[in-house]
């Protein structure tokens, strides 16, 4: 089966699930589908560094968390009617999703720029350890900074608004997340075929050649890291809005690991790999979680099997190993 068909089935299936649940009046299922869309979005972000760029970032929780806190901070100020800052210029909180998204994207892109610029001075195992460490740094920072809930996190009582929609209606909020996911997927699909994608994937395979033709692997990888962080940050803002709650857990190393698991379960460098992976993850959590309190054991075992015996992930198994991103 062609990957393009699988992509259509995956996205269509997600949409159909949400619509069917809406028709059957099953809001919980809609929420699960929304969660899949949001976590998939986080994975799509990571997949730019991991799949296209070949950089193993184990610190994407940093951007997920920053996106989440961008929402939490702005909304909490709006909720308490206190400005974020009065001097030198007045900055007020907001309940508007578009504004929150922009702030989340900008803040996580900035963080990715700093973390990426430092981490990309290294490669290989160093890069993994350094990104993991920077993620952990933000985790401890979030815990030790008392203004926004510290260890306990921050609750937002009303979901933020989007012009013309009732975001408290599960199906409308799902629609919003789904459209964002599709737009970002479109962007990443184009990115993969654009000059940038060609140069980035070449830099993963033969950095010496990329340099010898006059391009800078470091700059390519840094830009990829920033784009990737920004997308994961957007997902973080949506995730916070889904739960109406942010906490340092969004920054934890487990979050980084889980985002990576979505990408891997679905298939690295596959456009919709993270969608398949996130859907599988949520399904497992739902089914296995009902079966056993200790469902992570089964998740771990499954992941081991995928890594040791079924390389290429779900989409790789169905579409064959050839032609990632085609």
């Amino acid at each position: 089966m062609r990957e393009r068909h699988i992509n259509a089935i995956l996205l269509g299936g997600l949409l159909a699930t949400a619509l069917a649940a809406w028709g059957l009046d099953q809001p919980f299922t809609i929420t699960l589908a929304t969660k899949v869309a949001i976590l998939a979005l986080a994975g799509v972000g990571l997949n730019i560094t991991l799949g296209l760029g070949g950089m193993i970032s184990l610190g994407h929780a940093a951007f997920f968390g920053i996106g989440g806190y961008a929402m939490g901070i702005l909304a909490s100020h709006a909720q308490n009617y206190t400005p974020l800052m009065e001097a030198p210029l007045l900055i007020e909180g907001t309940n508007s999703m578009p504004v929150i998204w922009l702030v989340a994207i900008a803040a996580s892109a900035l963080a990715a720029l700093v973390i990426g610029a430092l981490s990309l001075r290294t490669t290989g195992a160093y890069f993994i350890m350094v990104t993991l460490a920077f993620g952990q740094m933000l985790y401890y920072f979030a815990i030790s900074w008392p203004a926004y809930g510290g260890e306990d996190g921050l609750s937002i009582y009303v979901r933020n608004g989007f012009p013309g929609l009732n975001t408290l209606d599960p199906i409308q909020f799902f629609g919003l997340c789904f459209v964002l996911l599709c737009l970002v997927l479109l962007f990443v699909a184009r990115l993969g075929r654009a000059p940038f994608g060609l140069a980035l994937t070449a830099a993963r395979q033969v950095p010496a050649r990329v340099e010898a033709v006059g391009l800078s692997p470091y700059r390519l990888q840094l830009v990829a890291f920033v784009l990737s962080g920004a997308i994961t940050g957007l997902a973080g803002a949506l995730f916070a809005d889904l739960n109406r709650f942010v906490s340092p857990a969004m920054f934890s190393w487990q979050t980084s690991g889980e985002i990576m698991v979505f990408v891997i379960l679905g298939g690295v460098a596959r456009l919709c790999g993270p969608v398949a992976g996130a859907a599988l993850f949520i399904l497992l959590e739902h089914w296995l979680g009902a079966l056993s309190e200790f469902w992570h054991i089964y998740l771990g075992a499954l992941l081991l099997i995928v890594v040791l015996f079924a390389r290429g992930g779900l989409i790789g198994q169905i579409a064959g190993r050839e032609a990632a991103h085609d």
């Binding site: 654009a194 000059p195 140069a199 033969v206 050649r209």
Partner: protein, 250 residues
Amino acid sequence: MTEPVLSVRNLEKSFGALKATDGVSLDLRPGEIHALIGPNGAGKSTLIGQIAGNIRPDRGEVRFAGRDVTGLPTGARARMGLGRTFQISALAMEHTVLQNVVLGALAARGGAMRFWRPVLQDGALLEQAEAALGRVGLSEHTAARTAELSHGQRRQLEVAVALALRPRAFLMDEPMAGLGAEGSKQLTGFLDGLRAEAPILLVEHDMDAVFALADRISVLVYGRVIATGTAEEIRASREVREAYLGEEDA
């Protein structure tokens, strides 16, 4: 005499106690093929690295296209028009043949920081890439995955990628490596015609090719250039015979 396109002055580079490059000076003039030969361990790779910009010299100067480029990184030198081929093919194996050559043309034509329009719909870029593939005789393999190419075809592709850059000078590190007699002969013919377009600094072990192609030859031994001259002069040089064939004569 015309000004050299590329020149190296008093270049020195040590690794610990080892002087890999010990006061090397040489020129690449317009229109010439200048071959760099020397026994294994003579410091050819280190010298090439310093000219390309991967290795920073301890002392001395590299000038290219009228500028001092000693402090410039590899990418900047490439953008100025220094086209390089590698001793061991450095190609993106997952990409198609065409994609590899397009990559070579990218820096000169709009750069890589373009995120939306598919690269394979860029007419000018494709034209340049296909022309380069045509010249090395790979036109029929444009859509093939690079990993599927034979060793000889990869060597041809290596040259095509450098061609796509439309360089002002070529830096070729053993382009004949691993080619059979027939392949070497073909590539020799091709490089012969290429010198009119841009001069070539050629590191090569295939002595038939070197003596057939080179306008001038420099002999590198223990990090020093012991002789520079025409093929005739080098053949006649006693120092070269001693240094190069020393072990065999002794």
